[in-house]
Amino acid sequence: EAAVTQSPRNKVTVTGGNVTLSCRQTNSHNYMYWYRQDTGHGLRLIHYSYGAGNLQIGDVPDGYKATRTTQEDFFLLLELASPSQTSLYFCASSDFRDWVEQYFGPGTRLTVL
């Protein structure tokens, strides 16, 4: 079964602060994704990647950067955090041979004060 881990699990920062959320998957999946989840909006795709060094823009990319350093590791960067970025963030991985079924990590709850 796919294993996706995220760190930290909880993070509190202040407006204007820098935050890096980390994600690692250990199943050699090609694709990795970052989502945010907010009540009334569901899951919204921020960025995704087809492999190391690749980055694709999602549906809500403003204020976020991402980097895929290896096949296993995908990072989400908030360089000037704002209260509107307070949310629950999920990382996911998938393989195109599996119809891109999403395997989700446990989530990171971010609060920007």
Partner: protein, 111 residues
Amino acid sequence: GDSVTQTEGLVTLTEGLPVMLNCTYQTAYSTFLFWYVQHLNEAPKLLLKSSTDNKRTEHQGFHATLHKSSSSFHLQKSSAQLSDSALYYCALTGGNYKPTFGKGTSLVVHP
């Protein structure tokens, strides 16, 4: 672009009654449809998936049939259980293997 529309908001049911959560979609690409379930304080996980037109897919008492003619993939269950209370997402895989999710339907089953 691709889009997914679900029964919005909250659905409240009495235990034992049938469940039906609606999902319709739009895509110009190959059709891969999914239902994910998310229980409280957990991550979403796959419930059902299909790419075959008019074929019923079943798992854990839930079933759905992909109808490409009406662009629908409704989730059904004959008898709701308390443990079915959760957030349900319909999703599709579109062009460039990009996933698109609906906004989610919160199902609450009460005794």
